[in-house]
């Protein structure tokens, strides 16, 4: 039976340009991130820029998304970071934050790493809200030891954005 263990977390007490989990222990089988984020971008949504082990190559993402009632799908190949993972931004309904989960199976195995993401942009609007599911790949065989999260369009994650990193045993 899979067991979730909280490795580390951070709830921002003030705005920050990025959040990094470093020295991730190689003692689990999978990693799960639960993120509730909001950036200072002057829009209702933000694109989260995720990088692994401080590398800036060999990422790709296939995505399904709905913005309001418009559904779309696509693929970003050979990108410098993982995206698009949508989260809330500064014109979304006050005090709303994204609900985001990123799952990384077999993060220490010596092969390319598949990564799945599921996110919603929470906003009290009939049209300006987003839900998306992503299937990504980091084409690198190194064990994942560092994960970094920064906004693409804004400058900072806003205060009380939260980042929780769990390790899963017996997945």
């Amino acid at each position: 039976m899979a067991t979730y263990t909280l490795i580390s977390s951070n709830v921002l007490s003030s705005s920050a340009a990025s959040v990094t989990f470093s020295a991730i222990p190689a003692t689990y089988t999978d990693l799960v991130l639960r993120i509730s984020a909001r950036s200072d971008n002057a829009d209702y949504n933000e694109n989260m820029l995720i990088t692994i082990n401080s590398t800036s190559a060999n990422y790709s993402t296939t995505y399904l998304r709905a913005i309001g009632s418009t559904a779309s799908s696509g693929r970003n190949s050979s990108t410098s970071s993982l995206n698009p993972v949508y989260v809330d931004a500064n014109t979304a309904t006050s005090n709303t934050f994204s609900s985001t989960e990123v799952y990384i199976p077999s993060y220490i195995v010596s092969q390319s790493k598949p990564i799945s993401g599921f996110t919603t942009v929470e906003n009290n609007s009939a049209t300006s809200n987003i839900i998306s599911a992503t299937a990504s790949l980091w084409g690198n065989s190194a064990a994942i030891t560092t994960l970094n999260f920064a906004p693409v369009y804004g400058t900072n994650w806003l205060s009380t954005s939260s980042f929780y990193l769990y390790g899963i045993s017996n997945a």
Partner: protein, 71 residues
């Protein structure tokens, strides 16, 4: 000066560090690259949609009819 949060998972220690000028430049470059990659993908998707619409028009059928043909 913007700062970054680093959570050391081996110790549980969280540090708040001001970004250096070089890190700010690097982060801005990463942001611009991500934005450019996203826009490039949107251009490809738009071109594909345009080509698809043109083909449907040429065939004289709707998207729903094309889906039915392929089902």
């Amino acid at each position: 000066m913007p700062h970054k949060i680093i959570v050391d998972c081996s110790t549980g220690e969280t540090t708040e560090v001001e970004l250096t000028a070089e890190e700010i430049v690097d982060q801005e470059a990463a942001q611009k690259a991500a934005e450019a990659e996203r826009k490039a993908q949107e251009v490809i998707a738009a071109a594909k949609a345009t080509a698809k619409a043109a083909l449907l028009d040429k065939l004289g059928i709707t998207a729903e009819e094309a889906t039915l043909l392929l089902s």
